[in-house]
Every structure is written in structure tokens, then in C-alpha cells.
């Protein structure tokens, strides 16, 4: 058995060493590219999920949201609720927001979007919007006539935002009129412009809760309270914890709040990925099969001779399987290097999705899965043609 394997390895190595270098390099390259394809798409899907989670937590929703009870438009007693939630171990911040659908006016242009009323200090404890200012400054607690807006909403002079709300060129210091749903119109000075790369946040604007409560006639009320936890990924535990503190309002994790949008997107991505994986593996099967098939057909006579001089057909088959294993191993290694290159490039220049920049997240499980599937199909695709030729009658093989 061991002697047989030694001979298989010997024949395989000599064939690799002294066979066609061009064919070998081409086959390895194809396997490497198939490997990249197998790993790349799952890494982008993981990247999308990671981006969505990070962007949602950092800019849009925090880890959890508290919403009004069923039938209510606002949460009442926001101050005491904040205190209650703030006492829970592991909760690092809460930020009540009042949301209103408004229309902005600037130099004859208008855009409809959401305006949030926030307590700047609280908002800083939950989101990173204040750290994402590209111009000007974030709001202060005492501001009443100031507004900060997202870069998409502020827009660029003469450029439309492709269907997104844009005032096409608002800058810091400019005055913007805001028409509230109750008919009130206020003018605010733009104090800052931020860019989070999360399109729902970058098309919104913020003023202080104090100002918005005044306009809408609210008192100690909010449309939503964002909750930040110490660690990400344990939202369900914190949700149970908050509810156990007697909070009567609706408590939802950021995933629940997003309403399965990402789940649906991921499902679609996974279908594309499954098709892509299938196609890649079929290509791998075809390439390996053709290479080994041509190889064995060309060496049909040689295989016959090997059998004639007493070399068992399993040794011959194994020599081809070992060649395939070598090609797949080197192909996978080259693929890992190529993938590292692609990942490095896309980390430096990420893909821009509506939810934010997507960095490929290469998971070890995806690499292992790809290697395993590549090896599986390659061995089968290499074994079959070798087996077909090797089991042929000796004299027929020798006669070619």
C-alpha cells in the first residue's frame, strides 16, 4: 500500500516536473481564479452584513430601539424612561429622537426628508454622527436655530442626487427653511454637514429636541429612543433585560427594526452565491476532467506499458489523483494570495453600497468550505478519466 503510494507519488511528481509547464501553470491559474470566485462573493455578502450592522448601530438605530406603545404616536415620560434604561448594566447610552417628515427649501429648491430632534449630548452617547462632520460642527444642547444635515441632503451645486432628496449645494452658514407637517415654517442656519455613507442618515437632518418639541408642541416626548449597548451581538439579551425592568414600550433590536430588509437582501445574495458557486465548481470539474482526460488519452500507451510491466492500475490512477491534488493545492494557495490581494484592494477602495462602504469580510469557514469543495470536485474529476483509461485492456492501450 505504502510502496504503491510511493510509486504513485513518484510518477505524479515526474509528470509535474517534466510535463508541459504551460499547461500546468494554466490549470493552476484556472483553479486559483475559481477559488477566488468561491471565496469572493461570500466575503462580499459577509461584508454587506457587517456593514449594515455597523452602520445601523453607529449611525441609524443604535443596538436597540424603544418605540411608542401600540396606538401611540410618541413615547411619553422620556426622561424617566431614559433613567430606567440607563440603569441597566451594559447599557452605555440612550438617545431620544423626535422624527418628522418635513420639506426643506433652499434657493428655490426643495427636498422632502426626515428631520430629527435630538439631545446632542445623548446622541453622542449612542451614534457616531457627531464624529462624522465633514464641515462645521455638530449641534450643542442649547442650539435652537441650528441644523446639521447629511451630505446627500445638502448636495452639491448643480448636481442632482439621483432621485435622493438633495438641496444641491447647501453649505455651512446657509439658511434653510423647513416646513413642518403642522404647517409651521422655520428657518435654520446650517451649523454642520456630516457624511456617514449610510444613505438614510445622509439624506436626513438634525435639530435639537428642544427646538422641535417647541414647534410640534411636545413635552418630554419622543418618537423613538435609541439604545447603545456595551457589546454588539447580544441585542436579544439586552432586549429581555430592558423588558424585565418594566418598560411598557415596544423594544426591538436593530435587526427587527430594519424589518428583514437585510435578511431579504442576504437571501437574494445567497441565491446568486449558490449559482456562482455551482458554476465555479462545474468549471473546476470540466477543467480538471479535460486536463486529466487529455493527459491520460495521450498517455494511453504509456499506461498500457506500465500495466504490462507489472504496475497495478490503482497505482496509475492514484498518480493522476495526486497530480490533481498537487494542482488543486497550488491553485488554492495561489487563490488565497490573489484573494488577499483583492481583499486588500477592496479594503483600501471599498465597494459603495446604499447602506455604506462594504469591505470584504473573508471568513475562515468560507475558505475551508471552498478548499474542501474544490478538492472534492477536483479529485472526482481527475479520478474518472484516469480510471477509465487505466482499466482498459493492456493490449488495446499499448496499441493505442
Amino acid at each position: 500500500m505504502l510502496a504503491g503510494l510511493r510509486v504513485s507519488a513518484f510518477l505524479a511528481w515526474k509528470s509535474i516536473q517534466r510535463g508541459s509547464r504551460g499547461t500546468l501553470a494554466l490549470t493552476i491559474m484556472i483553479i486559483a481564479l475559481i477559488f477566488v470566485n468561491l471565496v469572493f462573493l461570500p466575503s462580499i455578502i459577509s461584508g454587506v452584513v457587517e456593514t449594515f450592522n455597523t452602520q445601523s448601530i453607529d449611525f441609524d438605530l443604535g443596538n436597540l430601539v424603544i418605540e411608542p406603545r401600540e396606538g401611540s404616536q410618541y413615547i411619553d415620560g422620556v426622561g424617566s424612561l431614559q433613567k430606567t434604561v440607563g440603569r441597566i448594566p451594559g447599557i452605555t447610552g440612550t438617545s431620544p429622537r423626535i422624527a418628522a417628515g418635513v420639506t426643506y427649501f433652499y434657493k428655490g429648491r426643495n427636498a422632502a426628508s426626515t428631520l430629527y430632534g435630538i439631545t446632542p449630548e445623548d446622541e453622542r452617547s449612542v451614534t457616531k454622527i457627531a464624529d462624522s462632520m465633514t464641515e462645521g460642527e455638530f449641534l450643542s444642547n442649547g442650539d435652537t436655530d441650528a441644523i446639521v444635515m447629511g451630505t446627500t441632503l445638502a448636495g452639491t451645486e448643480g448636481e442632482e442626487a439621483g432621485g435622493l432628496p438633495s438641496l444641491e449645494g447647501v453649505g455651512v452658514g446657509d439658511s434653510v427653511e423647513v416646513a413642518y407637517p403642522n404647517g409651521e415654517i422655520r428657518t435654520y442656519r446650517v451649523k454642520g454637514i456630516y457624511e456617514t455613507q449610510s444613505f438614510s442618515v445622509d439624506t436626513s437632518a438634525f435639530i435639537t429636541s428642544r427646538e422641535m418639541s417647541g414647534v410640534l408642541g411636545l413635552q418630554d416626548q419622543a418618537s423613538i429612543i435609541l439604545v447603545k449597548t456595551e457589546v454588539n451581538g447580544r441585542e436579544e439579551e439586552y432586549k429581555t433585560e430592558i423588558l424585565s425592568y418594566g418598560v411598557q414600550e415596544e423594544v426591538r433590536t436593530f435587526q427587527e427594526k430594519s424589518g428583514g430588509f437585510v435578511d431579504q437582501a442576504i437571501q437574494s445574495f445567497n441565491i446568486i452565491n449558490a449559482i456562482s458557486t455551482l458554476v465555479s465548481l462545474i468549471i473546476a470539474i470540466v477543467v480538471v476532467f479535460i486536463v486529466i482526460f487529455i493527459n491520460t488519452v495521450n498517455r494511453r500507451r504509456q499506461i498500457g506499458i506500465l500495466k504490462a510491466i507489472g504496475i497495478d492500475q490503482q497505482i496509475i490512477i492514484n498518480s493522476y489523483v495526486l497530480q490533481v491534488l498537487f494542482i488543486t493545492t497550488v491553485g488554492a494557495l495561489v487563490g488565497i494570495v490573489l484573494n488577499a490581494g483583492v481583499t486588500t484592494y477592496l479594503t483600501a477602495y471599498p465597494l459603495v453600497f446604499p447602506g455604506g462602504p462594504v469591505y470584504p469580510a473573508v471568513e475562515a469557514s468560507a475558505i475551508l468550505r471552498s478548499i474542501a469543495s474544490l478538492f472534492g470536485v477536483s479529485v472526482v474529476a481527475g479520478y474518472i478519466p484516469a480510471w477509465r483509461i487505466a482499466r482498459e485492456d493492456i493490449l488495446s492501450a499499448i496499441r493505442g
Partner: protein, 235 residues
């Protein structure tokens, strides 16, 4: 050593049945150098293939060193070829990706010999066939005669009971053919190597102990040939 009894073999080529052997019986004793001769299509290669376990007769019996080789499974036949038989083909049949030395020690590798053992033995045999300085050359770097010498060395490396050669000089010029036949004769005499060789060249007869002539799948004649020293034996 080899006992073949009433070997029959019919090939079907399309709708036509071709009788290759029509009942051949033959005995080859240890140390004999037997030539199988005959016109093209007389059945000589078929007989050699059956004696060499590369083909099976439709009926008949072959015993080599007391073993009924036709009763062996395919795997056992492979092992028998590896351990007991050596082949020399008409067109050398070397593995092009291997050097002369590697071609020779390949079967020793299968037999599980140690590295030192198979390297020493293969180098020794290559020296003996006159290729001591060509061991690390590949097939494409060797002349026809040199390639056939490598094939002979490969056939001999495992000390086979029988060396089977299928027209080993067919692709060689007469001078090279003579050197190959001299080598066979020397092996036969010095090592008492049993050799069964197919040939169609009349002048080869002087090397054989016995010539079996086939005609239309039957033995037409058996002639004792070499009685005295082999040609060139005094060199």
C-alpha cells in the same frame, strides 16, 4: 518452466473472426533462448502475449513454474508480471518523463525495495548493458539502440524467471540489432536467463537455442539451432 497446452485464440474484427492461435502447445525449459518466428499474422505475437499474461486464450492452459497463470485474478496476474516476467517491446516502451535510471528502477519501487537497493541494482544493470554513462539521460536523449538497452535493463532488474521480447530489433539497424542480440545471448549464457523472443529475421536464428515457427496459428516447425558457442561469444 513454461508449459503451454493447446492454446486457442480467435479475434473478432467486425464480422470477421480471425484465428490467431489454433491449438498451440509448447514447452520452454529454464535457461532456453527460444525464438518464435513466422510470417506476419502467423500468431507469434499472440502467443508471446499469452505467455506473458498480457492476453488470455479462449481455451488452453499455461503453467509457469508450476503456477496455472490463467487461473489468476487480474491483480495476481499484475503481481506475477512484476515479480516473474520481464518484457522488451518492439518500440522500447520507455516512460518519456523518466531518465534511463528511473525507467529501470520503477518496478523495483513497486516491489518496495529500499532506495540504496534499487539504485545500486539499476545502476549495475545499466552498466552491464553498456549504459553506465547514460543513466541520467531521458528517452529523447538516447539513440534507438540505447533505448532498447534501457528497456532490457528494465526487464531484467527484478531478476525475472522469463524475459519476453517482442521483435526487439524491429526498429534498429542491423549493427545495433546485432549488439542487442549479443546482449541477449550473453544474458542467456552467463545468467542462464530464459528468453522467449519473437522475430521474423532469418539471421536471428543463429542466436536461438530453439526456433518455433508458426504458420496460420499453428506450430509448423520446431528447430534446434545453436549448438555451439553463440555468435561473437569469443569476443
Amino acid at each position: 518452466m513454461i508449459v503451454a497446452e493447446d492454446l486457442r485464440r480467435v479475434y473478432t474484427m467486425g464480422r470477421v473472426e480471425v484465428r490467431a492461435l489454433g491449438g498451440v502447445s509448447l514447452e520452454v525449459a529454464k535457461g532456453e533462448f527460444v525464438g518464435i518466428m513466422g510470417a506476419s499474422g502467423s500468431g507469434k505475437s499472440t502467443l508471446l502475449h499469452i505467455l506473458g499474461l498480457l492476453d488470455r486464450p479462449d481455451s488452453g492452459r499455461v503453467t509457469i513454474d508450476g503456477t496455472d497463470v490463467l487461473a489468476l485474478s487480474d491483480h495476481r496476474r499484475t503481481l506475477f508480471r512484476l515479480n516473474r516476467l520481464g518484457y522488451v517491446f518492439q518500440d522500447y516502451a520507455l516512460i518519456g518523463e523518466l531518465t534511463a535510471l528511473e525507467n529501470v528502477y520503477l518496478t523495483s519501487l513497486v516491489r518496495g525495495a529500499s532506495k540504496k537497493e534499487y539504485l545500486d541494482r539499476s545502476a549495475d544493470i545499466l552498466e552491464r548493458v553498456g549504459l553506465g554513462d547514460r543513466m541520467n539521460h531521458r528517452q529523447s536523449e538516447l539513440s534507438g539502440g540505447e533505448q532498447q538497452r534501457v528497456a532490457i535493463a528494465r526487464a531484467l532488474v527484478n531478476n525475472p524467471s522469463i524475459l519476453l521480447a517482442d521483435e526487439p530489433c524491429a526498429n534498429l539497424d542491423s549493427q545495433t540489432s546485432k549488439s542487442i542480440l549479443d546482449l541477449f545471448a550473453r544474458l542467456n549464457e552467463d545468467l542462464d536467463q530464459t528468453i522467449v523472443m519473437v522475430s521474423h529475421e532469418e539471421w536471428h536464428k543463429e542466436y536461438f537455442c530453439r526456433v518455433v515457427t508458426l504458420q496460420d496459428g499453428l506450430i509448423a516447425d520446431v528447430t534446434e539451432c545453436r549448438k555451439g558457442p553463440r555468435p561473437g561469444g569469443g569476443e
